[in-house]
Amino acid sequence: MVAVIRAHGLTKAYGDLVAVDGVDFGVEPGESFGVLGPNGAGKSTTMRMLGATLQRTSGDLAILGRDPAHEGPIIRAHLGVVPQQDNLDTELTVAENLYTYGRYFGLPRAHLRERVDGLLAFAQLEEKRDVKVDALSGGMKRRLTIARGLVNEPSLLLLDEPTTGLDPQARHILWDRLFRLKEDGVTLVITTHYMDEAEQLCDRLVVMDGGRIVAEGSPQGLIRAHSTREVVEVRFGSDRNLEVAAHLGGIGRRLEILPDRILVYSDSGEHDLQEIVARGFMPVTSLVRRSSLEDVFLRLTGRSLVDE
């Protein structure tokens, strides 16, 4: 079976600025693949190269076995694209957005009329079909953008930060829709800087930083490889964290001192929290939680992923 994506030494440079710096990865059919990283890591640049709307500077790239430098239109006919900005056509209604997009692919009218109805149902926008796009909420716009990306029945759907800027409820509705696509066998490539999103949606992911891939694996595999089972978060007040940390040697496997809290990477969180208290340090607040991709990212890059 042909791999959906094969990238080898994929590079994009703008003059001296190397946005994507020789990345290697592959995506198999039906897989849900995540590209994780902070702003400026090269995620969107990578996505545009995968979407055959940006030419690489060097390296090899095959999408469904085809080279985007030579077979752009055929590759794009295979793809669904959900860009970071919705880029919906605000001069048209909801249904017209889907219909015209299908016409851009050359799909016949009768075929599209049926398909538009199906997609409106999928996006839960049937009641909004004749409404102009501006009247939609952020979550509805995102769902419409995803529905638009599905008009041509793509085998690969590229989602660039699909839930950025959405409230929690809208995110969960969107995740539910994406799960359904995954169940239908659509290959998904998702960029995100939300750890929980990557853990929810991705079978496998790469962590990007500064245009390079710094780690690759399944969410659980990455957590196992780069973090501990549990994490204790303790706060002693921002002026005391550093001072207390000096006395916590030997507790847990590793300490991470952040401006507002101390993270204790631990095999047993409860046990280590008791140990901290036993040494006479009573935290203002404490939390024992499972390790997450956030911890992996912090470990790999020394920086928090989301600075909000």
């Binding site: 059919p29 860009p83 900005q85 001069e91 017209e96 015209t100 692919f105 050359g106 066998g185 659509v186």
Partner: protein, 280 residues
């Protein structure tokens, strides 16, 4: 039901068929899909703004043709004395073809390019840059030609067209509108702010006033006449006047060639620019 994994879908089959044709990487043969989008947007959002373009040249005709024209009397053209209103009518026709095409390819195209992200969206499908260029220029051409033809109907109702040659004004207006649209879209595709578009307007107004629209350019010194004769609006006005009064000579072919070149070069440059912006 939503999609099939790795299947050869209708969209893929269409793109694969097309790939066997020459120029398939830049042209999918579907600029009509972009015209359709223009038509739907007109119905859903832009109908009122579209209508205003029909009114403007009529206002000029009434104010200048009949108002100022009352003071001027008649003008001699090709050895015949014609009323002043009849003299400026073909010029206003040319200007309305220009205005419709230019409004659409400047402010509207800039908005679609930078605020709607429309061309990026179009080119993330299997469309090519030439589809988008041809579709958008074609849509602006329709707008410019519609205004010109609307004005032609008014002018005819006023009894200002006298020969059947005036029917040739229709294809002439289509050609002129297409050429102006090509030029407008090329310029707009290089612009990065609305301020730069205002600069364009700064050139359009004097061109409208001084290109032989309201009086013959023979009132200018020779060097200035040469400059004006190089402008597309003067070319358009000369073409329209020639057809209106049935003065058909070699000059007419020259004007047609001028617009054919402008249209082709503009279309080519626009497609190249869209490719550079959205597919490189």
């Amino acid at each position: 039901m939503i999609t099939g994994a790795l299947a050869t879908t209708a969209a893929v089959a269409i793109a694969e068929r097309r790939a066997r044709r020459p120029l398939s990487s830049v042209y999918a043969g579907r600029s009509h899909a972009i015209l359709l989008r223009g038509l739907l947007a007109l119905r859903t959002s832009n109908a009122l703004a579209f209508m205003t373009g029909f009114v403007e040249p009529v206002l000029f005709l009434v104010a200048f043709g009949y108002g100022v024209g009352g003071l001027v009397g008649t003008v001699e053209i090709g050895g015949v004395e014609v009323p002043y209103a009849a003299y400026i009518a073909p010029a206003l026709l040319a200007a309305s073809a220009m205005n419709g095409a230019i409004i659409d390819t400047t402010f509207n195209v800039f908005f679609k390019m930078h605020y709607l992200g429309l061309y990026r969206t179009m080119m993330s499908t299997s469309l090519g840059p030439l589809d988008v260029a041809l579709g958008e220029i074609g849509w602006a051409m329709i707008r410019g030609a519609a205004y010109a033809i609307g004005f032609l109907v008014v002018v005819t109702a006023f009894g200002l067209t006298t020969t059947w040659w005036a029917l040739l004004l229709v294809p002439a207006a289509v050609l002129v509108a297409f050429a102006f649209a090509s030029l407008g879209m090329t310029l707009t595709s290089y612009m990065t702010s609305f301020q730069q578009l205002n600069w364009l307007n700064f050139f359009l107004l004097p061109m409208f006033l001084f290109s032989g629209t309201f009086y013959p350019i023979t009132t200018y010194p020779q060097w200035l006449q040469w400059v004006i004769e190089a402008t597309p609006l003067w070319q358009a006005i000369a073409l329209m006047r020639g057809l209106t009064f049935g003065v058909l000579d070699g000059g007419l072919a020259g004007h047609v060639a001028y617009f054919a070149v402008l249209a082709t070069v503009g279309l080519y440059l626009t497609a190249r620019r869209l490719d550079a912006l959205f597919l490189r």
